[in-house]
C-alpha cells in the first residue's frame, strides 16, 4: 500500500522532531526550502547523465571523466563552509551549482533558476541518509578581508612555506610537490593537488572561497582542514599569496573588491 505524500510529510517531520528531541541533532541549519519531488525531475533532466540514477556518480558519461562526478551517497562534499567531515549547508551546494567546478565537466547551473536549484538540492540530499539523521555543523566564521597588499602577499608566502603547503602544491604552487604523486580520493581514484597558478580556483574565485577551501579542507580528498592551525590573520595573508600566484588576480582584486 502506498502512503500518500501528504501523509508522508508529517511522518518525516515527526521523525525529525523525534530525532531533534532525542538530542541527536545539533544546530538549526538545514531547513529545507526545496521540493525533492520537483528536484527529481530537474535531476533526471540535467544531472543523471554524470551523477547516475542512484546518485553514485556513475552515470553513463562518468567513465570518460576525470575527476569523477560526485558520489552523493555518503554526504561527502568538497566545498563546504562547515568543518571537515560535516555535511554541507544547502547554501554550500547552491554555491557549487552557481559556480560550477572550474577545470572539470561540472558547469554552472545559473540558468536553472533559484527554485529549480533549491529543488534539485533537496533531491540530491535524499541520496545520503545522513541528511535525514544529522545536521551540518556550524560554518566557520570568516572575518572581513583586510585587503590585498604586497606586504600581505609577502607574509602569505612565509605562511605557505611555514605550513608546508608546497609539500603537495609545490614550492611555486604548480601542484608538483614531493607528496603530489600517488594521491587518492575516498573512492580510490587518483587525484592531483591543484595547480594554484591556473588563474581560477575550482570552487570559486572570491577571496572568501579561497579562505574557506583551505580552512575547511576538501572532504573526500587528501586536502585537510587548517582551521584548527591557521589563525584568521595568517589565513588572509595566505589567500592573498595564493591570489598573487596567478597574474590575473591582483587586477581583479583592485578592480572589484
Amino acid at each position: 500500500m502506498l502512503v500518500r505524500v501528504a501523509q508522508l510529510v508529517p511522518m518525516v517531520a515527526g521523525l525529525l522532531l523525534a530525532v531533534g528531541t532525542a538530542g541527536a541533532a545539533v544546530g538549526t541549519a538545514g531547513a529545507d526550502t526545496g521540493d525533492a519531488r520537483n528536484g527529481k525531475a530537474v535531476y533526471e533532466r540535467w544531472c543523471i547523465g554524470c551523477h547516475g540514477a542512484e546518485g553514485n556518480g556513475q552515470g553513463e558519461s562518468a567513465q570518460y571523466m576525470s575527476p569523477k562526478p560526485r558520489d552523493y551517497r555518503e554526504g561527502t562534499f568538497k566545498w563546504r563552509s562547515t568543518p571537515s567531515g560535516s555535511l554541507p549547508l544547502d547554501s554550500d551546494l547552491e554555491h557549487t551549482l552557481l559556480n560550477g567546478v572550474y577545470g572539470t565537466y561540472m558547469p554552472s547551473w545559473r540558468f536553472l533558476g533559484e527554485r529549480e536549484r533549491e529543488d534539485v538540492i533537496a533531491y540530491i540530499k535524499t541520496f545520503a541518509p545522513r541528511f535525514a539523521s544529522e545536521q551540518p555543523q556550524k560554518p566557520i566564521s570568516i572575518p572581513p578581508n583586510p585587503g590585498y597588499s604586497d606586504e600581505s602577499v609577502k607574509r602569505g608566502a612565509a605562511i605557505y612555506q611555514k605550513y608546508n603547503c608546497g609539500q603537495c602544491h609545490g614550492a611555486g604552487g604548480r601542484g608538483d610537490g614531493s607528496s603530489a604523486q600517488g594521491l587518492k580520493d575516498d573512492w580510490g581514484n587518483a587525484i592531483v593537488p591543484y595547480d594554484l597558478t591556473k588563474g581560477h580556483i575550482k570552487c570559486g574565485d572570491e577571496p572568501t572561497d579561497i579562505y574557506r577551501v583551505f580552512m575547511t579542507g576538501l572532504s573526500g580528498t587528501p586536502m585537510p582542514a587548517f582551521a584548527d592551525s591557521i589563525s584568521p590573520a595568517d589565513a588572509w595573508d595566505l589567500v592573498h599569496f595564493i591570489e598573487s600566484l596567478s597574474p590575473e588576480y591582483p587586477k581583479n582584486v583592485t578592480a572589484a573588491r
Partner: protein, 255 residues
Amino acid sequence: MNNRTSGMQCARRSFWLPAGLAVLGIAGSLAALPASADYAVVAVTNGGSIDGVVTLSGAAPAMPPIKVDKNPDYCGASIPDPTYTVGSSGGLANVIVYLKDVTKGKAGPSEPLALVNDHCMFSPRTQGAMVGEQIKVSSDDTVLHNTHLRFGQNNATIFNIALPFKGFSVTKPLPERPGLIDVKCDVHEWMRAWIMELDNPYYATTDADGHFTIADVPPGSYTLEIWHEAAGEKSQPVVVAAGKATKLKITVAAK
C-alpha cells in the same frame, strides 16, 4: 512554470523510493542512536578478567621495509614494516580484542583517545574506542602531516585535519556509530592506523609480546572478537567467573 508542473507529474510515481529510504535512514539512526545508551554503566564488584596472549602460527611473512620517498631527510630512507610485529616468544602485537554484546559494566575511558604522528608513523597503530569518544590527534614531527579518518567499510571521510607543526594537537569527537575506522596520512601514504569503535568498554590491544588484559568483566559467557589488520578477524567463546582471571591462548594465522 510549465517545467515545474510537468516535473511534478513525472516525479510523482518514483518519489516513493528515495522518500522511503530517507524515512528508513531516520528510523535507522533512531535505532542506532541509543547504541551507547544501550550500554549501562554499573558498579562491577565481582568482576573477573581475561588474561590472554595472541600468537602468530608459523613464521611472520617477510615484509620488506617501507621505502620512504616523501620527506626522507626527516623520516629516514626506510622504516621497518610493522604489519606483523612479533615478540621473542611469538606474541603478535597490535591485535584488537573485544567482547561483543555487553550491555552493562564498567565505565569507559575518561581521557580522550590519543593518536600521535611520531616519526612519520602513527602511534599507537591500533586501538579500541567507545562510540562518540573524544580523540586527541597530535604531532611530534616537524614535517606536515594530515590525519584522515575514514570509515573502514567504504572509506568515507570522517574528518581530515592538517598537523603542520611539532607539538600541535586537535581534539575532536569520533562518530556516534560503532565500526572500524581506517586512519591514513595522505602526505605520507605508508602511515596507517586503525581504531575499532565499540559500544562497550571491554576491549584491549595486544602489547609487544602479544599479551592483553580485559579487566572488571561482569561474570558470564561472552564472545571474544579478535581483529588484526592483516591476519583478519576471528571470534571465540569465553567464560568469565567472578573474581577470577580467565587465561586464554589465541592463535591467528598470517595471511
